[in-house]
Amino acid sequence: MQTLLDLWAAHSSTVAFAMVNALMALSTYAVLSTGVLSFTTVVFAAVGGFLSAQLVAKLGMPLAIAFPLAAVGGGLAAAMVAGAFLKLETHWMALASLALVLITRVVALNAPVLTGGVNGLVIPRRVSLGELTVVLVLVALVFYRLSRSWYGLAARAVREDPAVASTMGISPYRVQFIAFLISGVVGGLAGAALAFTLQFISPETYFIGIAFTMIASTVLGGSFHWFGSIIGAAIFTALPVAMQAVVPAFEDVAKGIALLVIMIFLPRGLIDPRAAGLRRAARARIAAESNNA
């Protein structure tokens, strides 16, 4: 029992970061599931993070109010981004969203009143594991419901082929706009969760590094099912910790190689509804054949 408690004490922060990253990954999944490759999750996270940090530090608001406001802030930012970006073609959208991440850092650096500038912000309060779990479960529940709704079906159709989807009466623009809004709300929440887990944020916190790891964990886990994002984030967070125990000098290299191998052999990610469906069909066929024999 004692060893279990020690293990928990050593790794509870890893679990907390895995949950924060899962929120980020879900935000990326929200747009990716409609066929939009965008790094803007980081931008929404920055809005949510700085907003909630200031609300708590300056105005003394409780987390229960700061988190929803962070979500609203992220959503508003997403509405603006979507309005401007959805006109662009896929490749340009990817570039534009990456550029927006760079711009966000410069803006954050030059607005010290809001963000603390170069010095960053120290956050007096820490979010507990329990609170994080509640947020993540609520968000996951929303994604579960969405995946089985009209919207989930429309999103899959738009991802597979926007032209076909629009002949079926689905407006790709509308579906992708909604996707951006969801991404913004979840991204804002994730940014706030990251701020209150790290307890220190600066413009460097919400930058390229996190943008790349988010998209990597989403695709690693499987970008065709919302649960993939959670699995991917968990693996991507736990992998460096595990590697540190085995090959301390090369933990990052090992992380990169693991990502590479998984992507080459399972390009659709770890959780893949299509592969699961094919396996089920194969089992059913074998069962039918053995019945006939």
């Binding site: 490759l37 550029a99 998209i215 695709v219 190689i257 990502l259 590479l260 992507m263």
Partner: protein, 295 residues
């Protein structure tokens, strides 16, 4: 007036580095359809290889620089064959290659950090040309002349290669649609290898030259070039080498004059505001056609 001219040349030299790097990055994006997150590390590694060629083997500067450039191209080919080739026939699009390039970015960045022992190395001042060129009243470091000449030569060469030769036509065909290009008799495998090498070598040259002029050989070198080279590609339009070259020089001049006449804190701000404006108003870049909108 003299200060203005000197600062302009400084800006052009700085911008030439951005442009040179951006040409490589844009080439991969336009021809191979890969948003390559690992591209910055090619530049870092080229500079590191050039540094050790000088430091360990006492190679003269041109040889060391050539070693760096070839290393950049070779790494690009290796990364392409390991990370991108297996995904080509699976239709994972932009996304799959992006993820494997992120994997290589992590690997190469971390290895580069270890190769330089997490310090910023600098080429010894005696190892590269440091003479000043007298142009009337102005004194221009010969390195800046080399940088600007490199950009002019590379940009013109690659532009002519892509637009005027058969190889270039094959590259454009693969970039447009590799299946159709193969039906037309293009060996896309070789075109891909060639493009990857060319892109890696160009960005490697940018890395070596930036390592000399900024006295910084480390894994941060590539990251800095990547961010600004990326801006040059977006402003210039990734489908056109000319646009990248002009946009890169423009960014360099704007940066230097903003630092000189306004304040250093505005430097990056102005670059990225310009980037945002271009994305909103002219999303296909300086030379891009505007009549191509998303369905």
């Amino acid at each position: 007036m003299q200060l203005f001219l000197e600062q302009t040349i400084n800006g052009v030299a700085l911008g030439s580095l951005y442009a040179l790097f951006g040409i490589g990055f844009g080439l991969v994006f336009a021809t191979l359809g890969i948003l390559n997150a690992a591209h910055g590390t090619y530049a870092s590694w080229a500079a590191i290889v050039a540094y050790y060629a000088l430091d360990w083997y006492g190679a003269p500067f041109p040889v060391a620089a050539a070693a760096g450039v070839i290393a950049g191209g070779t790494i690009a080919v290796v990364v392409d064959q390991i990370a991108f080739q297996p995904l080509r026939n699976r239709g994972t699009g932009l996304l799959g290659a992006l993820i494997t390039s992120i994997a290589f970015w992590i690997i190469l960045d971390s290895l580069a950090g270890q190769a330089t022992e997490h310090q910023a190395l600098a080429f010894p001042a005696t190892s590269y040309p440091t003479r000043m060129l007298e142009l009337g009243a102005m004194r221009v470091p010969i390195m800046q002349v080399i940088v600007i000449t490199s950009l002019v030569v590379c940009a013109t060469g690659i532009y002519l290669l892509i637009q005027k030769t058969l190889v270039g036509a094959a590259m454009r065909a693969v970039g447009w649609n590799s299946v159709a290009a193969a039906l037309g008799g293009v060996n896309s495998r070789i075109v891909i290898l060639l493009t990857a090498f060319l892109a890696g070598a160009t960005s490697g040259l940018a890395g070596v030259l930036a390592g000399v002029t900024t006295s910084n050989v480390s894994f941060t070198l590539g990251e800095g070039l990547m961010l600004k080279g990326f801006a040059a590609v977006v402003v210039g339009g990734f489908e056109d080498v000319r646009g990248t070259a002009v946009a890169g020089i423009m960014l360099g001049v704007i940066e230097v004059s903003a630092a000189q006449y306004l304040s250093t804190s505005f430097r990056d701000g102005i670059t990225y505001t310009l980037l945002l404006l271009f994305l909103m108003l002219r999303p296909r870049g300086l030379f891009g056609s505007t009549n191509f909108l998303r369905a």
